[in-house]
Amino acid sequence: MDKKANPAVTREQQLDLYRFMFLNRTVEDTMTNLFRQNKIVGGLYSSLGQEAISVGTTYALEKRDWIAPMIRNIGGLLVKGVRPRDIFTQHMARYTSPTLGKDGTSHFGDLKNLHIVSPISMLGDLIPVMTGVAMAGRYLGQKIVALTWIGDGGTSTGAFHEGVNLAAQQRAALVLVIENNGWAYSTPVGRQVPIENLADRAKAYGCRAFIEDGNDVEAMFTTAREAVRLCRAGEGPVIIEAKTMRMRGHAQHDPAEYVPKEMIESWKRRDPIAMYEKRLAAAGVLTDQKKAEILEGIHAVVQEDLAFAENSPFPPPELAESAIYCEGALLVEPQWERPVAEVTPPRSSVKAEWHKTEFDEFQADAIEGAGAVPSSGRAPSATIPRASGDGAQHELVGASRPGGTVPLRGKTTGDGTKPAGRTPSKRPAKSAPPVRGRK
């Protein structure tokens, strides 16, 4: 991605990004203390060193957009408008928590106001769910974008594959951020997958991808902003791989002795908050006075919310038996932002047949190429149908011929990210940019 193409990040946005990262870390530091005091009921996961990803990507969204956090995305919750007290009470299993104590960690959501979908512990499942959110948003005419995250480990699940494939087939307005923090619990990414860049898989799905420095909050923000723009323009889904490092164990119980010390030390020098602070200070954006102001504001809200959480009761036992079924009305009735007449007869009526615009022909050079090189050099087809709402979904050229019309030939480059052979004629392949600040 060409950085110069992005409009500058304003001073106000820079301070916001800084503030949210600092808030994210303060909230988590506070919970680490609570954990040591035995006040966290279950496990505690840390996003130390990954704050730039949650904060930067969520900051690219509008209020109407939807997110689904994973356990290391507390920063995303804070940017979306969740108060620290909700995060504290969740972890402390209190009655005042968003789930009333029925679940912990970041397992909570808010359908109606903040548009947050709660995660579950099984990895990958949010991808099809958020694809559905995006599909429903388009159907209702809402022009929303759905954003969710997945770790490097989660990309190996079946749900990841089914979800990304459906999103790509539907051209869903989904931004999927892969947080490649190097470790799936104790297993390094190189032992999970035989490829260097998880974003390379986007080519096989026929969607766009960016690779970005996950410790650079402005890079995360501007890349996510571009991804959101593409999604809103009907060019989704977009995958962003954020290269980062998990600076703690899988959870508090895990000392992560399997991580080489030098690796931690080297990544400590790339702490996203310290780096950004330095940058903003050098640019004169973050003065000592401004910093003191921000920290004071964060301290005040965190202390207030901590007191609230500590003074909150546990739920009454009988709550365990409540609300198996929804007996009342829906929280969210469909918000139509397009004429309903467009999706009801007679206007909705169509001829039920596939319209194939061209016939599949045997392509000898495709076979020849496939035998010679890995298929990762394949670029997305220019003929994949656009949004199902535009009536073109039935032009199944892309689906009937995976990979589209471009025959694969030639060799890939050493990093496997760029096709060296022919490129599609209609839409250029989005090749991954090098990771900034490394190598």
Binding site: S118, I120, D125, M130, G132, A136, P334, Q335, S348
Partner: protein
């Protein structure tokens, strides 16, 4: 009043609900242009278009997940699984995501998963199963399994209008074999209510789906011997209509539970437990079960016949109960 099949009853319900409510959309494999493997969705695409009748990739997890996400914005998706056997492919999405959503964080999931189920058509071990109890065991899901065309239509309408995830089992043996007079116009059949198919005083046969018909045959046989069986069709397995079961047992004092599902962990065990706990004094005989064997569904006709509960098994069990 028109005579329609169970399949047609479901199709009518989908049509009428999509007509009534633009929030209703259908998705699944081959449901659009092709009209579904059993043609239950035939004609929907022509009328409601590509946005509301969505042909998906072969991705059961993605279908259920996407439907769940759609329901969060107030839509009412109806998913088709081509055969209910493939529900195993989306087990996690259903039991961990969909079923727990409302209990844990208050997010209702108004969606329907409909799927052809059951044996007797020599479909073999992967196209004949009755996996309802995996899901009856999961709090948060509703499970519907109709036996008549009238019920199928009315229950499907209730399922679509319900604010909870509903698994709707469609017995494929009954699809085109069962016909009912169905009134014109809108009607619903409530979820969670059993129906007495035949009144009797001597023994209660509690059952559902295709076995409701087999049980009626058994009841006719028993009547020739002077044994009057009451046949109770559950229609919904979750929530279970315990009141109707207990009322019938109080009347007949003898209980036979019949299902096409396998025996171990089948709903007969749960029903027997409910009756032992709440109506033990009303029983004049031990509760009996007639069920499928505890094996996979075998393919060859003589094997499948041995696997499935037969009329003679029910007659024998009911007779023994009556003379206990």
């Amino acid at each position: 009043m028109a005579l329609v099949t169970l399949l047609e009853g479901i199709r009518q319900a989908l049509f009428e609900e999509m007509e009534r409510d633009p929030a209703v959309v259908c998705m699944g494999e081959d449901i659009g242009v092709y009209g579904g493997a059993f043609k239950v969705t035939a004609g929907l695409l022509e009328r409601f278009g590509w946005e509301r009748v969505i042909d998906t990739p072969i991705s059961e997890t993605a279908i259920i997940g996407a439907a769940c996400g759609m329901s969060y914005l107030g839509l009412r998706p109806v998913c088709e699984l081509q055969f209910v056997d493939f529900i195993a492919c989306c087990f996690n999405q259903l039991t961990n995501f969909v079923a727990k959503s409302y209990y844990l964080w208050g997010a209702p999931v108004p969606m329907v998963v409909r799927a052809p189920s059951g044996g007797g058509v020599h479909g073999g071990p992967f196209h004949s199963q009755n996996p309802e109890m995996y899901f009856a065991h999961t709090p948060g899901l509703k499970i519907v399994y109709p036996s008549t065309a009238y019920d199928a239509k009315g229950l499907m309408k209730s399922a679509i209008r319900d604010n909870n995830p509903v698994l709707f089992f469609e017995h494929k043996f009954l699809y085109r074999r069962i016909k009912d007079e169905i009134p014109g116009g809108d009607y619903t059949v409530p979820l969670g209510k059993a129906a007495v198919r035949r009144e009797g005083r001597d023994v209660s046969i509690v059952t559902y789906a295709a076995m409701a018909h087999t049980s009626m045959e058994a009841a006719a046989e028993l009547a020739k011997e002077g044994i009057e069986a009451e046949v109770l069709d559950l229609r919904t397995l979750a929530p279970l209509d315990k009141e109707a079961i207990l009322a019938s047992v109080k009347k007949t004092n003898r209980l036979l539970v019949v299902h096409e599902d396998t025996r171990f962990g089948g709903i007969a065990g749960e029903i027997a437990a409910v009756v032992f706990e709440q109506a033990f004094d009303d029983l004049d005989a031990p509760v009996r079960r007639v069920t499928a064997l505890d094996t996979p569904v075998p393919y060859s006709p003589p094997l499948e016949e041995r696997f499935l509960p037969q009329v003679k098994d029910m007659v024998t069990a009911a007779r023994e109960l009556a003379h206990y």
